[in-house]
Symmetry: C2
Subunit: 325 residues, 2 copies
């Protein structure tokens, strides 16, 4: 059955969609009340964020837009040292989308939310003209475990830990669009368990960021600028899987500018680097973590190449890959 405009009217069909799909999968007491807003108890400081997802295709190797929408917001909260607690989900559905598609997305969102320990407590559905596309906004609230973690708190002498292989989400989406058969899967994953392990290990984390649109290069440039430091990374330390390396070689892509959806950097005091690395590696999604660089006085981002040269790493200019997340 296909979604038509009546599902966005706020009347009978909207109610059916909510009951038969969203309440069925997201099922929890708060959401089931169907009030104008969820009423919640939170403790201490909260982290609060929003992210919209417009990825195409909706389903790809390693995930779908729903998994991405839950992970993206869970990860943004986690990067502020918060335990993700509550999410909202706003669906904008293009006419002609199969109801089964929405249900499969909702099912995945529910599974991913369960893994990340968050509840989807409020939602909204709109239908627009179009051709079977879906956009999802998720906002999220987390309880801050450790304050003072900030993109502006990197310090000279800090070590930069990357939680795993670069470029996988980007390469998976691009492979799908180009019709290339390979085994590259999106790394889309909730990173809250890595953060929990870091903080449980008493690491004095200065900064964390997930590596998404714009890639590692963009994240490091933001960190360098906001912290008024310079960043040096080491090419030979950067983890890239052989498959993604091959894929990038053929297409002339640079993994430094490719999006991940399940990778993060943690910037920690140099003398805690090894301990922090172990904490990340002991996490489900951090087994291939590496120390990839260091924070220095100065400004900008440079990479020590395999040939011992020093290459300046700029922000991403231009288009990147459209609708990657």
């Amino acid at each position: 059955m296909k979604i038509d405009m009546s599902y966005g009217s706020g009347g009978k069909q909207t109610g059916d969609l909510i009951n038969q799909v969203f309440l069925k999968h997201f099922n929890n007491k708060t959401l089931n009340r169907l009030e104008d807003a969820a009423v919640l108890s939170v403790e201490g400081k909260i982290a609060y964020t929003t992210d919209s997802f417009v990825v195409t295709p909706l389903f790809f190797r390693g995930g779908n837009i729903g998994k991405l929408a839950v992970c993206g917001t869970v990860n943004d909260l986690s990067m502020m040292g918060a335990v993700p607690k509550y999410l909202t989900a706003g669906f904008i559905i293009e006419e002609g989308t199969e109801l089964e598609t929405i249900e499969e997305i909702a099912r995945t969102m529910a599974l991913t939310a369960k893994e990340a320990g968050v509840r989807i407590v409020a939602g909204d559905t709109k239908v627009v003209d179009g051709n079977g596309g879906v956009f999802i906004n998720t906002s999220g609230i987390g309880e801050v475990m450790k304050g003072g973690i900030s993109i502006s708190h990197c310090k000279p002498g800090d070590a930069i830990i990357l939680s795993g292989n670069l470029g996988e989400h980007h390469a998976a989406i691009l492979s799908h669009r180009m019709g290339i058969e390979n085994q590259i899967a999106s790394d889309c994953a909730p990173l809250n368990s890595i953060v929990q392990n870091l903080l449980d290990s008493q690491i004095r984390v200065h900064c964390m960021r997930d590596v998404t649109r714009g890639g590692l290069a963009t994240v490091l440039n933001e960190a360098a600028e906001q912290s008024a430091c310079s960043v040096e990374i080491w090419e030979e330390a950067l983890p890239v899987s052989p498959e993604v390396k091959g894929f990038c070689g053929i297409l002339g892509l640079d993994p430094l500018y490719m999006a991940n959806e399940g990778k993060m950097i943690a910037v920690v005091p140099g003398n805690q680097a090894e301990k922090a690395l172990k904490a990340v590696q002991n996490s489900k999604y951090g087994t291939n973590a590496r120390i990839i660089g260091t924070v220095l006085e100065g400004n900008g981002v440079r990479m020590k190449t395999r040939l011992n040269g020093l290459r300046t790493i700029d922000l991403l200019y231009g288009e990147g890959l459209p609708r990657i997340c």
Copy 2:
């Protein structure tokens, strides 16, 4: 200048858009930090909600999509007896949209947020292919002033107060789309001051709902069903402006099923009805409020017509007006 895909890449152009438009207008300390999530202090229980806005046209008499996006979420929080505090804004922009359009929307959002006393503390921007359209998701957090207000708490004997004229947002959008010249303006407005007045007047409010998609008929049906009561309203008590009445007459529209964006119902104990009415009428957006009906034992919604008949009022079936909000 037109927005292209590069503005959604997460790189340089996305940063420019954020700095030159969003930070300029939404300017506040929390947002300016550009962290992955805002860190906030909240007290007591919170209300939390989300809403996406896909209205077309983007600009209409009485408002634009940005004003709607702020009011809609402010109102959802208010309906739970909460003081709206923080909003997030997620923009999905179709390629080809003029940068000036986005700036005008952002400017209006900032003004409306200021009026409602909320801060926009986190945001996100995505660009998709298309033809100059804009979708906006807002989520919001409020601090609950008075708990126990619920769509399921209407009680027999309660009075139903409607804060003003029906159908104005719907009629304004439809007039615009049909190219009809008239003076009908959207009623789009933040309703938190009405709620504040009701609670300051010590009214023991049982239920509040804003009258949006699906119209008053749908809201009352939800209240009757969730509260396991019946609702009776009085046709002659329903406020509709002469212009909207004329417009509906020509087109065969029923104001009971038409969307507002600045009207609400408050369901209060019968013996507080007059006091509550005064509190609403003393609010900027409630001057034309009326007591429009009562809650009874039983189920369903009925309207006593001008001829003293009793007409059953069902949920909205079918399409309503697509992309009304």
